[in-house]
């Protein structure tokens, strides 16, 4: 029983990272219809930045916050290249983000080298019904829930959030009403950068991060987000947590080496199941 609880908690922690990355994908996709392949890179860059800042003496909290800000700026920069040029169709933007994700490798290796990095998170351990796990997991889960609640409020209650939803819903009408769709797109990329960055700094204390960790994150994030069709943050959270827990259970009770397959098979199953229910014309329009 305590074992199960332990796996659940570690699974939820890992799942939160996927949920955050996935929510970044959702924010960008809703507003611009672009699938951002560079989403994982925001996490890696933020994690690397945080480790450098911490190593150079900055206190915890400040270093992580700055790292998330770096993530946001990186996100906006990616957005600028991907959608800044007027007339770029979403499929072309997708390939551009793929290219920028590869470019990120070059930057990461150049600045930080190719060795894995980590840093300490929240110290100490917690006892819950006999299961012991690092206190850091509580931070991960707490922060993620707070962020998702914030996202929900943003989209539903604020003017900017409504404008973002408008761009997602009908870009032409958004322009009619006077919303600068490109600027909203850039904003969404910036928010995605911050979300990815947050995922990066939260997960590094429990997971060694190397420059190619972004593939794991973006695949997991996509698997989480696809549950909501890349459009619904709440379902992304559910998807991410389910994925994390499934992986933890497979690792704990089965073979740890198959974690990736779990994510991928889940991803494929959900995608194909959804596609089977959607007529082609609708998929083309999406």
């Amino acid at each position: 029983m305590t074992e199960l609880l332990q796996y659940l908690v570690t699974g939820l922690g890992g799942g939160c990272a996927f949920a955050l990355v996935g929510s970044g994908l959702v924010v960008v996709y809703r507003v611009t219809r672009v699938v951002n392949f560079a989403q994982g890179s925001f996490a890696v860059i933020a994690a690397m930045t945080a480790s450098t800042l911490l190593a150079s003496g900055l206190p915890h909290g400040l270093a992580e916050a700055l790292a998330v800000a770096v993530g946001a700026v990186t996100g906006a920069a990616v957005g600028l290249v991907a959608i800044g040029k007027p007339g770029t169709p979403p499929d072309a933007s997708l390939i551009v983000t793929l290219g920028l994700g590869v470019f990120a490798y070059a930057v990461e290796i150049l600045v930080w080298g190719d060795q894995p990095r980590s840093f300490r998170g929240v110290p100490g351990a917690v006892d819950l019904f006999g299961a012991r796990f690092q206190a850091h997991y509580l931070l991960i889960i707490g922060a993620t829930l707070a962020v998702f609640a914030g996202l929900g409020l943003l989209f539903a209650r604020t003017d900017i959030g409504r404008a973002l939803s408008a761009c997602a819903s009908n870009p032409y009408a958004a322009r009619v009403v006077g919303i600068d769709v490109t600027r909203m797109g850039l904003l969404s990329f910036g928010v995605a950068g911050a979300l990815g960055g947050l995922a990066g700094i939260l997960v590094t204390p429990i997971q060694l991060v190397t420059f190619d960790y972004d593939v794991t994150l973006v695949v997991g994030g996509f698997a989480a987000a696809i549950l909501g069709g890349l459009m619904r943050p709440a379902l992304t959270l559910v998807g991410g947590l389910l994925l994390g827990v499934a992986q933890a259970l497979v690792a704990g009770y089965g073979n740890g080496a198959y974690q990736l397959e779990v994510a991928l098979v889940l991803l494929l199953t959900v995608m194909i199941w959804r596609a089977a229910r959607q007529p082609i014309a609708q998929q083309e329009a999406a």
Binding site: F103, Y105, M271, A275, I280
Partner: protein, 341 residues
């Protein structure tokens, strides 16, 4: 007179390229020969991918998976005593078979969903191959014998160069036939609008699967040759980045044009070689080659997608067309008869 000239002009570039590439191998040094071979292999994979992406509109981020299947099929068969020719022929068949099986569920997806699904497919395949003992696991498959046909062993690089040339020529001919045939035109309709194509009676599902499997077969064939050439395979030889490279080659050259696949593959392979040479100069840090190649691929891909969206070959063709039309228009208005000029 003009019509005949037009017909000749059309197959002249292809014939010239074929002749030049055929004559090259004996003239190249051994390091250049290995570049020639890798280029040829890349071109074979890219032709299939370019067809898939350009004609059927199917983005694949997992083409290296089929390359790997071809390589491992040929390699495993050869290691267990099967004659190499049979192994080489089995390679594209195995890749195509895998594509047919996987394609049925996968091709229900479109656009970015399909892109991610193919990426997932490759990751799963790589992971499984790394963990299976019978494929050599993460260390890889060693000791693949040299290719031989009827007792004649392919010992030198130059033999493989000709093998690759033959495979590339064959692949291009097959691709050209598919593209210019009636099903091929149905394919082009697919790339623009699937609903419209279906409405016009194009058997959409069957065509998509056929293109997918054919592209896989091409990649499988290239993989098979690769296995014999290198004599050694490991999961590390087929990373996701390789699939991205093929996409870069296809996009840069020009999706859906056969020349584009050739131009793209040539450009990227040569570029990588140049970068490697620069990156391994004395005085460059250890990770310079990888940094340079990642940075340059990425920039090239981004610049081409943003500024030359249809790729190099269509852009060049458009430029040539404009010159040609202006030229003809000029002659027409000045009343010049072509044969007098």
């Amino acid at each position: 007179m003009n019509a005949a000239r037009g017909r000749t002009a059309r197959w002249l570039p292809a014939a010239a390229t074929a002749a030049v590439t055929l004559a090259l191998p004996p003239l190249l040094s051994s390091s250049h020969l290995s570049i020639y071979i890798l280029l040829g292999l890349a071109a074979i994979v890219t032709v299939g991918l370019s067809m898939s992406m350009g004609y059927a509109g199917q983005v694949s981020l997992g083409q290296a998976a089929f390359y790997a299947i071809g390589g491992y099929t040929a390699g495993l068969l050869a290691v267990h005593g099967v004659p190499p020719l049979a192994g080489l022929l089995a390679a594209p068949l195995a890749a195509a078979a895998f594509a047919l099986v996987v394609g049925v569920p996968l091709l229900r997806l479109r656009g970015h969903h399909l892109a991610f699904a193919t990426l997932a497919m490759q990751l799963i395949l790589l992971s499984l191959v790394s963990q299976a003992d019978w494929t050599g696991g993460a260390i890889g498959l060693q000791g693949v014998p040299r290719f031989s046909v009827g007792g004649v062993e392919f010992a030198d690089d130059i033999a493989y160069a000709y093998l690759v040339w033959a495979a590339a020529a064959g692949t291009l001919l097959v691709a050209r036939n598919i593209v210019t045939s009636r099903p091929g035109r149905g394919l082009r309709a697919l790339a623009t609008s699937e609903t419209a194509a279906a409405a016009s009676g194009v058997p959409v599902g069957r065509y998509r699967l056929t293109v997918f499997a054919t592209a896989a077969a091409f990649a499988g064939l290239a993989g098979g040759i690769y296995a014999f050439y290198l004599g050694y395979l490991s999961p590390g030889s087929f990373p996701v980045l390789l699939s991205v490279e093929y996409v870069v080659m296809a996009v840069v050259g020009g999706l859906g044009t056969l020349w584009g696949a050739l131009v793209g593959a040539t450009a990227i392979v040569l570029l990588v070689q140049v970068l490697n040479t620069i990156g391994t100069q004395p005085g460059m840090p250890a990770h310079a080659p990888s940094v340079l190649s990642y940075a340059v691929y990425a920039l090239l891909l981004v610049l081409v997608v943003l500024f030359l969206p249809r790729g190099i070959v269509p852009a060049v063709r458009a430029r040539l067309d404009r010159v040609h039309t202006a030229d003809r228009a000029g002659r027409a208005t000045t009343g010049q008869h072509p044969s007098t000029s």
